[in-house]
């Protein structure tokens, strides 16, 4: 008997990960808080460590809705102001 697999193919990924940044020292850092409970606590503490240990400069913090993509305005603001963004926290 021949049967079809029900999964089908997958399309091209809509996004790909950015290339790693080899040297963080001297770059500016942004936070994109997805507003999940405790996300900001985690992101702030991580940012503090990166500023202290690696020499990044915290420049800007933005927020987004947890269930939706960040607005164009927020993404434009981050892309103009910083080279590194910390984001994402699940519950």
């Amino acid at each position: 008997m021949e049967i079809y697999a029900p999964t089908g193919n997958t399309g091209e990924p809509q996004n790909s990960l950015a290339s790693p940044i080899p040297v963080l020292n001297g770059l500016s850092l942004g936070i994109l808080d997805n507003t999940k409970p405790n996300a900001r606590v985690l992101l702030d503490r991580l940012a503090d460590r990166l500023v202290e240990r690696v020499g990044l400069t915290l420049a800007i913090a933005e927020t987004k809705n947890a269930a939706l993509a960040a607005s164009d305005q927020v993404l434009e603001s981050l892309s103009k102001e910083v080279q590194v963004v910390l984001t994402a926290s699940a519950d």
Partner: protein, 348 residues
């Protein structure tokens, strides 16, 4: 496009038990037995699309970005037990699920218990023998059960909404097995729902990503306001996902008797929605205490703690349709919040 784009498995003739075990080993299915999607059965299902391209891409379904062609939807329809007459409703529902405002990525991936509810309207509901009467939400009707199930199988297999992989729902939901109902047009005093959102085709399907139904029981009232006060009470529970989200929609599935009482007093659909908008309110201070994370419209942030506000930002977010049979039970179906319902014509 060709059959090369599909994986076809050659399997030995085996017992029903061995076949179901194979499905399970492959990670396919919803836990219930499924029908083998043989070439012949899939071709028969595709005959419902007449001469349309079986390999046309109907939708790309996140989070897996699975490519839902007519053929792969037909495979899932066969597995769910659909008949050919249900296939155009299923294809149309998958088309609706891929609309950007549906936010299917979020619907599939959230920790919430949301499931897509299909509401079948008009000729397709009659021709497909969908149940819009007694026990409309189930169980017992082949069309409702299998079309709803085929949507879920497509989401599991094509969209990758597998619990723990692409579906993070904390507790899941019985509505994630099958969630399909028909509009009771014969008992609707206001005509069909689809035309209220600009779809005048003789057949349509609405997809609303929501919670399982919240019952509204009113045996005694002869006034619309008394019935609708109970509906409003079901809309204002703090536990539902719409509570901190102002853009959330509510589908109000009125039973024919509740609908008739409203209509007999001259109330239209929009009268009911406006009444509920004004009645389903909560105290702003209590809402602020209840939720740290609030997705409110800008005007809501400006309210004082002593103010009251509606559960949703506008009356148009409260959608009314009629379903069910004799008796006096209606229901409220709150959405997940970050999603909008979509109504489309039924097209093959």
């Amino acid at each position: 496009m060709s059959l090369d784009m599909y994986e076809i498995l050659e399997i030995p003739d085996s017992s029903e038990r061995e076949l179901q075990d194979l499905f399970h080993e492959k990670g396919w299915g919803d836990g219930l037995p499924m029908i083998a999607p043989t070439r012949d059965r899939v071709e028969e299902m595709l005959s419902a699309s007449q001469d349309l391209d079986p390999d046309e891409v109907i939708a790309s379904l996140p989070p897996r970005n699975g490519v839902a062609t007519r053929r792969i939807i037909a495979v899932n329809a066969v597995m769910a037990g659909c008949r050919t007459e249900h296939f155009p409703v299923l294809v149309s529902a998958i088309r609706a699920l891929s609309a950007p405002e549906m936010n299917l990525r979020g619907v599939n991936a959230t920790t919430h218990c949301v499931a897509p509810l299909l509401i079948v309207h008009g000729k397709a509901a009659r021709d497909g023998n969908y149940n819009s009467g007694l026990g409309a939400f189930g169980p017992g009707n082949l069309a409702n059960a299998t079309t709803g199930r085929a949507v879920r199988l497509t989401l599991l297999h094509v969209a990758g909404a597998t619990p723990g992989v692409g579906d993070a729902s904390t507790q899941g939901s019985p509505a994630k097995y099958s969630y399909c109902v028909a509009e009771n047009l014969d008992s609707s005093p206001w005509g069909g729902y689809a035309s209220t959102v600009g779809i005048d085709d003789e057949s349509a399907v609405t997809v609303h990503c929501g919670e399982a139904p919240h019952n509204v029981h009113d045996m005694e009232s002869s006034e619309p306001s008394a019935i609708l006060d109970k509906v409003a009470s079901a809309m204002t529970s703090w536990g539902q996902n719409n509570a901190p989200i102002s853009q959330g929609e509510y589908f109000i599935a009125l039973c024919p008797e509740h609908a008739a009482t409203c209509a007999a007093h001259g109330w239209s659909r929009s009268d009911i929605a406006s009444y509920l908008f004004n009645k389903a309110t909560v105290n702003v201070g209590d809402a602020r205490k209840a939720f740290e994370l609030r997705a409110w419209a800008p005007w809501q942030h400006a309210l004082e703690d002593t103010d009251n506000m509606s559960m949703t930002e506008k009356a148009e977010n409260i959608r009314i349709f009629v379903t069910g049979g004799a008796g006096k039970h209606s229901c409220v179906i709150p959405s997940w919040g970050m999603t909008k319902s979509v109504t489309v014509p039924v097209l093959p």
